[in-house]
């Protein structure tokens, strides 16, 4: 009962910025909203849908195919690619977008050379295809990671059963293993869809009009926060719709394996042409999505290093790391409390609280600031305080981060919690384990992996986060992402390379940890044996 109340409070706090956004419909539509709806909204909607569908298809294809190749086959470099293919996650999407334009658009070196060879008038990067390509390259690691983990945890036995029923190993994969990992692939896909909807940086660089850019235009160019909030709520509705479709797609199937200890499938050694293709495929993707951008950033950094690198960088880096760590801890804790209380079904408030990932950071930041200043003013009038206490502290920041990134921690923790069935708990209790020991010896080991995944995902995303940090940070709290913004806002993309490469290099640590999570470990805990062992240990002590 206490758990449910706390969970409700936390969920409400996190959902508050979103609720504030939704409340914009209480006021009538102003002329800005009407103007934007009547001029070009259909183009904007079409652009948005194309981008989302394109990114979804692209990342699913890339992520699933790469995961399949690295888990089913053996080829030179496989163990390297297994974790390296997650690395693009360390690069912010807007940085990748900028590099793509700088290198491949009409004013870049590639086109210049092509024109020198006589090929002029070729299409540049700034097109629908271009932005879909960049989004796909930036976001496929979400699908790859989850698909890979899914494939690794399906058992040999399932394949053997399928083969004994007449399937070849290839059709066994497509008819048995792939459907079994569908929920994981879908949750990776959800992350991709939400990030794509929320993105503002990359689409601005491409000058590609989406719902999010319209939102910004309504607010900053046409001064109508109200219209911006209304457009955000359209985003929310869109996401709800997509989530509902996803849920329906998942519902009719059972995914738990009755395996006590699923053995991973042995990998098939590739020879000849297929070996070459596998290596080439993985290498090319890694090259485009990670190596080339890094090389570009490094080359730009060399020229600005002398001018810009100073002792302050330790501060920027330190603050980026500190904020990411704080957010990771807070958000994982919140997700855990919410997950625990919601095991019998998600309440609406919790579902709302996880939608923030689909909303652009700035609008959540505004919601966060409105909430925190409201609390401040209320507290001030209640206690007759002078001035603002919560505003300008880390409160609004953490609230903004929670509203935006809760889903990253909530999803892995929720699925980990699902594995702790009520039966296990009942068995444990009947054997005399106290609640505390149940948490310690059963929940903790089973949740560890989900918690780590959630924490690392939040950490990386907060490192890269820009708009919320910009808007809500206390004085003197400039981070690496803020530094990137300050240079890019002035069009000084070359100077932005230094903070960008620093951010990427330090994000590599959690990304590599993420990539190594559960890569080859077998499921041991959570079996009846473990429960008995745990209770025996308690009695013995």
């Amino acid at each position: 009962m206490i758990g449910k109340t706390i969970s409700f409070l936390i969920a409400s706090l996190v959902a508050a910025p979103i609720l504030i956004i939704l409340s914009s419909w209480r006021t009538p539509m102003d002329d800005v909203f009407l103007h934007l709806v009547t001029t070009g909204l259909s183009d904007v909607l079409r652009n948005t849908l194309w981008l989302v569908i394109g990114a979804a298809v692209g990342t699913t294809f890339l992520g699933v195919s790469l995961a399949m190749i690295t888990t089913t086959f053996e080829f030179p470099g496989r163990s390297f690619f297994n974790w390296a293919l997650v690395l693009p996650l360390a690069i912010p999407t807007y940085v990748l977008a900028f590099i793509a334009i700088a290198l491949f658009d009409v004013t870049g070196p590639v086109h210049s050379q092509l024109r020198a060879w006589g090929f002029s008038g070729l299409p540049g990067m700034r097109s629908r295809f271009g932005i879909i390509f960049v989004m796909t390259m930036a976001l496929y690691p979400y699908v790859y990671l989850l698909a890979r983990n899914g494939f690794l945890s399906t058992s040999k036995r399932a394949t053997e059963v399928a083969q004994s029923l007449g399937q070849t190993s290839a059709s066994a994969f497509f008819k048995v293993i792939l459907p079994m990992t569908q929920p994981m692939i879908l949750s990776g896909l959800m992350l991709v869809v939400m990030e794509t909807l929320a993105d503002f940086g990359a689409v601005s660089i491409f000058n590609y009009d989406t719902l999010t850019t319209t939102l910004y235009k309504a607010w900053f160019s046409m001064f109508s926060l109200d219209s911006a909030a209304k457009f955000s709520s359209l985003l929310i509705v869109l996401v709800f719709l997509i989530l509902w479709i996803e849920k329906k797609a998942r519902q009719r199937k059972r995914y738990t394996s009755s395996e006590k200890q699923p053995h991973p499938n042995p990998r098939k050694i590739l020879k000849g042409a297929s070996r070459l293709c596998a290596v080439a495929y993985c290498f090319i993707i890694l090259l485009i999505a990670f190596m080339l951008p890094i090389l570009y950033l490094l080359s730009e950094t060399f020229s600005t290093l002398k001018q810009d690198l100073d002792l302050r960088y330790f501060g920027f880096l330190g603050r980026s790391l500190a904020l990411s760590a704080m957010a990771a801890i807070l958000i994982v804790l919140s997700a855990w409390v919410i997950g625990l209380a919601g095991r019998r079904g998600q309440s609406l408030i919790v579902r709302l609280a996880t939608l923030g990932y689909a909303l652009p950071g700035t609008i959540l930041a505004v919601g966060g600031i409105i909430m925190v200043t409201f609390l401040d003013h209320t507290l001030a009038s209640l206690f007759h305080w002078d001035g603002l206490f919560l505003t300008g502290t880390l409160c609004a920041m953490m609230l903004g981060y929670a509203a935006r990134f809760l889903t990253l921690a909530h999803n892995p923790i929720e699925s980990a919690l699902h594995r702790i069935t009520p039966h296990i708990e009942e068995a444990a209790r009947s054997l005399g384990l106290s609640s505390f020991n149940i948490l310690k010896k059963i929940h903790f080991p089973l949740l560890k992996s989900g918690v780590m995944t959630g924490a690392l995902l939040v950490f990386v995303d907060v490192m890269k986060e820009m708009p919320i940090t910009l808007m809500t940070r206390p004085f003197g709290w400039d981070t690496l992402a803020v530094k990137i913004f300050q240079f890019t806002a002035e069009g000084e993309w070359d100077r932005a390379a230094l903070p960008a490469i620093t951010l990427v290099l330090f994000s590599l640590v959690p990304v590599i940890l993420l990539a190594s999570e559960r890569s080859e470990r077998r499921l041991r805990v959570g079996t009846p044996t473990a429960v008995i062992a745990a209770s025996q240990a308690t009695f013995a002590s």
């Binding site: 070009g40 009409v106 004013t107 900053f220």
Partner: protein, 329 residues
């Protein structure tokens, strides 16, 4: 309970002010203002605390914080945004004979709520190898048939273009401006770019022959690549003059340090400081008694449009609607 208290202390940043201190919310980026702020602290002892962000979120923060806002000064890089801040009653009218003397009236608020501190022109850039300056005359002429497929522009979403169009509406009226902008779009060589540097690169590479950019982006690019075949042209010299915009500031309505804030603005407008403020960014001084520094002076003198820059704010929404109507992305 203790846990909650400790947690709250962890979250609350309590900073007692010992030296005199003013707080600034700035849309002018950190690398451009720190040298100036440091110089002020050195000469006056007053410390400056600041936060940078785009104008929009800063305005929102000021609105939410209300009367308890710690901000003393709001600094922006566009006149329209300063006008908006005044509209939202976020700025306080300041009567300072020094500021009135140092800043021409078309570059500050008629009601003395905001003041320009440096000037930038949004002007025509052209490829010296493909365009004779005699071909160029006005902003409007860029829409003529001779420039078909020879024009490159930056996106309409950037405030600098919005202000340019807004000022054109103020000068020429809605209908004529709509025709002009529409004719520009017909002359575009490629899709609009997301920043001025890309526009200039396109012009220098021959993708197009003319573009419209802010003078300081030109300065920066030419400093890095002096060999680029680019030059500036001052349009409308025979009529209203070239379009200018300001980087400026105003004192916030709820400041607790009015005198210190005004003193700082006066210092920024003073003769000896004007070039320090402008120099970091290839801008022009706002104080008419100050000569532009060498790097900027070599672009030549020009007549600027003398109507109040605040019109950029008043007509901002109209400008955006106009650009939407003609399909200027």
């Amino acid at each position: 309970m203790r846990f909650i208290v400790t947690l709250s202390i962890l979250f609350l940043a309590v900073s007692p002010a010992f030296a005199e201190e003013i707080t600034l919310y700035s849309a002018r980026m950190e690398q451009l203002i720190t040298p100036v702020f440091d110089a002020y602290t050195k000469s006056s002892g007053v410390k400056i605390k600041f936060i940078t962000d785009k104008e929009g979120p800063l305005l929102q923060r000021l609105i939410s914080e209300g009367a308890d806002s710690p901000a003393d000064i709001f600094m922006a890089v566009d006149a329209g945004m300063l006008w908006k801040a005044a509209e939202e009653k976020l700025l306080k009218p300041v009567s300072s004979p020094i500021l009135s003397a140092n800043i021409p009236s078309h570059l500050r608020d008629p009601k003395d709520q905001w003041f320009g501190l440096s000037v930038r022109a949004r002007t025509i850039v052209f490829n010296t190898q493909k365009v004779n300056p005699s071909e160029l005359s006005t902003y409007e002429a860029l829409g003529d048939a001779q420039f078909q497929k020879r024009l490159c522009l930056r996106t309409s979403k950037k405030i600098y273009n919005i202000s340019l169009v807004a000022m054109m509406i103020a000068d020429l009226g809605m209908e004529q401006t709509e025709q002009v902008v529409s004719s520009w779009i017909k002359n575009l060589a490629v899709d609009v770019f997301s920043d001025d540097t890309q526009v200039m690169k396109a012009v220098s590479q021959g993708i197009c022959d003319v573009g419209i950019v802010n003078t300081y982006y030109y300065g920066r690019l030419m400093a890095k690549h002096p060999d680029y075949p680019l030059a500036l042209f001052w349009p409308n010299q025979k009529d209203r003059g070239a379009h200018v915009n300001i980087s400026g500031a105003g004192v916030t309505r709820h400041t607790k340090h009015t005198k210190a804030a005004i003193a700082f603005l006066e210092w920024l407008s003073s003769e000896k400081v004007q070039n320090l403020f402008a120099e970091v960014n290839f801008e022009y001084p706002v104080n008419p008694k100050v000569k532009p520094y060498a790097k900027v002076a070599k672009w030549g003198t020009f007549k600027q449009d003398m109507i109040n820059v605040g019109n950029a704010g008043k007509l901002q929404i109209d400008a955006v609607k106009l650009m939407d109507r003609v399909g200027y992305k």
